[in-house]
C-alpha cells in the first residue's frame, strides 16, 4: 500500500461517498457548538422541520459572551443574555447536551473539548469557530465552519468537502528555554504569511513539535488558521495517549486498549508525499511580539518595528503603513521600548494550566508596573481555574496585581464587558491583532503567556529570558 500522510488517513476513514469531481461527503464524529454561530442554524432546522441526526454527537457551551466576574448575577447585557438563553433553549428543544454557564465544566469550547475527552485522536471534529484547528493537537482532523455548515452537520452528521492540499511544517532542533509554542507558531506565521497555508491542512512535525506537551501542541494548531490553513494537527505519540487516558469521555478498559492501538497508527507513513513542505530551525526561534494588525506582522522581541520603505511589494507596504498608523508606531522603534496599558492572559490559544503556570513563574514575587491600567487572567475552563487555584496560582496572580476571572473568551474578542478602550495598547496572549479586535481602536500585541507576564512587570515589552539579569 502506498504510504499515506496523516491527513490522508484521517480523510479516507471519514469519506461516506465521493462524486466524480472530487466533492466528498465527510462524516463528522464530534460537533461542538457555542452561542454566537449557532442560533441561525437551529432556526434553519426549525423552519425546515428537521431534527438533529445524532444529538449525542454534539456538545454545546456558552463562552464568547459570558461575563468573567459576578457570574452568579447573570449577564447584564440584554443582547448577550438573549444569545446565551437562546442556546439553552435550542439545546433543550433539540436534545443537544450542554455545559451551561454555571456548570463547573464550562469554558472555552476549544479548551473543554480536549480536557473532557470529547476530542479524541482520529476524530473529525468541527465547530462554528475558526480556532477549531486547536483540537488537531490530538491527532484529529478538526476545522472551523460557518453557520450554514453548523446546520448541515446538525441535520446530516456530514459536511460537503473537498480534500485539502497537504503541508508539512517541520521544526528541527529544540526550542530554547523561555521560548514557547506561541513563539514558534508566531514565527511560523511570520515566515509563511497569513495566507501561506490557504487551501492546505498543516501537519506540524519535527523534534521541537514532538517535545511539546499536548497543551503546547494545542497552541500551535490553534493558530494554524492564522497561517490561512483551516486545519492543523500533530501525529499521535505516547504524549498524546498519556494526555487522553482517564479523561471523562475517553474510552475506558478494553475499549481504551482497542482505541489506543488504532490511534498509534495516526502518523504520516515514512515516505509519504506532501504537496508542500516548510522547514524551520526550532533553536533559532526567539520570543516573538507582533507590531501590526495581522499576525504575520511579527518580529523577535530583540528587533525593531520594521520600515515599510524597505518593502518592495506596494500592496504590502501600504498595509504596513496603515498598520503602523493604527498601532501608532514609528519604524525603527525597538520593540522593548513599546509601553503597554493592559495585559490579557487567556483565550483558546493560551489559557490552559501550563500557560498559567508559565505566566505565574515569571510573576512570582513581582508587581505589575504602576503604568499598567489593568492586567487580566481568564482561565480557559472551570477545571483549569480549579487546578490553578489548587496550585496557588490565583494568589500569585492577585499578589502581582492581576485580576483573576471566570472562564470564557473574554478580551480575546471583547464580546463581553472585557475590552480595550480606543488607543489602549495591550500585551495579549490571544490569537488576533486585527484592528478593533479587542475593542474599537484598541491596539493588540500578540505574545506568549511568559512574555505577557514580563511585559506586565516592566510596563513595556522585555525579553523574558533576560528578566532576572
Amino acid at each position: 500500500m502506498a504510504p499515506k500522510t496523516l491527513y490522508e488517513k484521517l480523510w479516507d476513514t471519514h469519506v461516506v461517498r465521493t462524486d466524480p469531481d472530487g466533492t466528498a461527503l465527510l462524516y463528522i464524529d464530534r460537533h461542538l457548538l457555542h452561542e454566537v454561530t449557532s442560533p441561525q442554524a437551529f432556526e434553519g432546522l426549525r423552519l425546515a422541520g428537521r431534527r438533529p441526526w445524532r444529538p449525542g454527537a454534539n456538545l454545546a457551551t456558552a463562552d464568547h459572551n459570558v461575563p468573567t466576574r459576578e457570574r452568579a448575577a447573570g449577564i447584564p447585557d440584554p443582547v448577550s443574555r438573549l444569545q446565551v438563553e437562546t442556546l439553552e433553549r435550542n439545546c433543550r428543544e433539540f436534545a443537544i447536551p450542554e455545559f451551561g454557564m454555571h456548570d463547573r465544566r464550562q469554558g472555552i469550547v476549544h479548551v473543554i473539548g480536549p480536557e473532557q475527552g470529547l476530542t479524541l485522536p482520529g476524530m473529525t471534529l468541527v465547530c462554528g469557530d475558526s480556532h477549531t484547528s486547536t483540537h488537531g493537537a490530538l491527532g484529529a482532523l478538526a476545522f472551523g465552519i460557518g453557520t450554514s455548515e453548523v446546520e448541515h452537520v446538525l441535520a446530516t452528521q456530514c459536511l460537503i468537502q473537498k480534500r485539502a492540499r497537504t503541508l508539512r511544517v517541520q521544526v528541527d532542533g529544540t526550542l530554547a528555554p523561555g521560548v514557547t509554542a506561541k513563539d514558534l507558531i508566531l514565527a511560523i506565521i511570520g515566515e509563511m504569511g497569513t495566507a501561506g497555508g490557504t487551501g492546505h491542512a498543516i501537519e506540524f512535525a519535527g523534534e521541537a513539535v514532538r517535545r511539546l506537551s499536548v497543551e503546547g501542541r494545542m497552541t500551535l494548531c490553534n493558530m494554524a488558521i492564522e497561517a490561512g490553513a483551516r486545519a492543523g494537527f500533530v501525529a499521535v505519540d505516547e504524549t498524546t495517549l498519556d494526555y487522553v487516558r482517564g479523561r471523562a469521555y475517553a474510552p475506558k478498559g478494553e475499549l481504551w486498549e482497542r482505541a489506543a492501538a488504532s490511534w498509534r497508527r495516526l502518523h504520516s507513513d515514512p515516505g509519504a508525499r506532501f504537496d508542500r513542505e516548510v522547514r524551520l530551525r526550532g533553536d533559532a526561534v526567539e520570543p516573538q511580539v507582533t507590531w501590526g494588525t495581522s499576525p504575520e506582522m511579527v518580529v523577535s522581541v530583540r528587533a525593531a518595528v520594521p520600515d515599510p520603505e524597505a518593502e518592495a511589494d506596494p500592496v504590502k507596504a501600504a498595509g504596513m503603513r496603515r498598520a503602523l498608523e493604527y498601532m501608532d508606531l514609528t519604524p525603527g522603534t525597538p520593540i522593548q521600548q513599546i509601553a503597554i496599558d493592559k495585559v490579557f492572559i487567556g483565550s483558546c490559544t493560551n489559557s490552559r494550566i501550563e500557560d498559567l503556570r508559565e505566566a505565574a513563574a515569571v510573576l512570582r514575587g513581582g508587581r505589575v508596573a504602576a503604568s499598567v491600567k489593568q492586567a487580566l487572567v481568564v482561565p480557559g475552563s472551570g477545571p483549569v481555574k480549579a487546578q490553578a487555584e489548587a496550585e496557588g496560582l490565583d494568589r500569585v496572580f492577585e499578589q502581582a496585581g492581576f485580576e483573576w476571572r471566570e472562564p470564557g473568551c473574554s478580551m480575546c474578542l471583547a464580546m463581553n464587558a472585557d475590552r480595550l478602550e480606543p488607543g489602549e495598547r495591550c500585551a495579549s496572549t490571544s490569537n488576533r491583532n486585527f484592528e478593533g479586535r479587542q475593542g474599537a481602536g484598541g491596539r493588540t500585541h500578540l505574545v506568549s503567556p511568559a512574555m505577557a507576564a514580563a511585559a506586565a512587570l516592566a510596563g513595556r515589552f522585555v525579553d523574558v529570558r533576560t528578566l532576572g539579569d
Partner: protein, 218 residues
Amino acid sequence: MSVEPFDISTAIVCPLDRANVDTDAIIPKQFLKRIERTGFGPNLFDEWRYLDRGEPGQDCATRPRNPDFVLNDPRYQGASILLTRENFGCGSSREHAPWALLDYGFKVIVAPSFADIFFNNCFKNGILPIVLDETVIDELFSKATRERPLEMRVDLECQRLVLDDGTEIPFEVDPFRKQCLLEGLDDIGLTLRHEAEIRAYERRRREEAPWLFQDLAE
C-alpha cells in the same frame, strides 16, 4: 437553508483597496449578538464606515459617516460587486460576514485570493466569490477608480465578466458550487438524498471504532 438562485445583471463595482481584510473588519463583534441572519448590512465595515463608535441598536442613518471610506463615495452607491485585494475574509468563521455583505447588497466579490472558510460561507449564502490574477485585479482597480464608476455584468453560466467597455474576463468556479448557485439548491436536502449511504457508513464505523459513537446525552 435554501438560498435565492444567483442572478445579477449589470452592476457597479466598488473598489476596496486593502489586502487581508478580516471578518472583524467586515462585521465587528458587537454586532454578532443578533440571533437572526438579516439586518447586518448597516454595520458592514462599521469601524471604517462611520466616525462614531458603533453599538447594536443605533439608527445608522443618522450616524456620522467617514467621507474617505469607499462605501460612502457617491460614485459607488448601489454597488453590488466588491473588488478587493488578497486574502479577503481572513480571520473568524463568522457567517455574519457574508450575511452583512449580502444584506448591504453585494452579490459578487472579486479578489486575487480569499480565506478558505469565508470563501465557502459565500457560496452557502448565494454570494459568488471570484478569484482573478493579480494583474487583472490591478487593471480592474484602475478602471473602477476613475470618475465614472466601472460597471460590469457577471455571467455565471458562461463564467465570464463583461465590462462596460466590452472587455471580457473569464473566471473559474467549482462545477458543483456553480450548479448550487444557479439553482439555489439546498445543501442539506442534497446530502439527505444519500441517507442510506450515511447509515451504512455509521454501521461499519460502529464496528471499527465504537468509541466514536458514545452518546454524550447519556
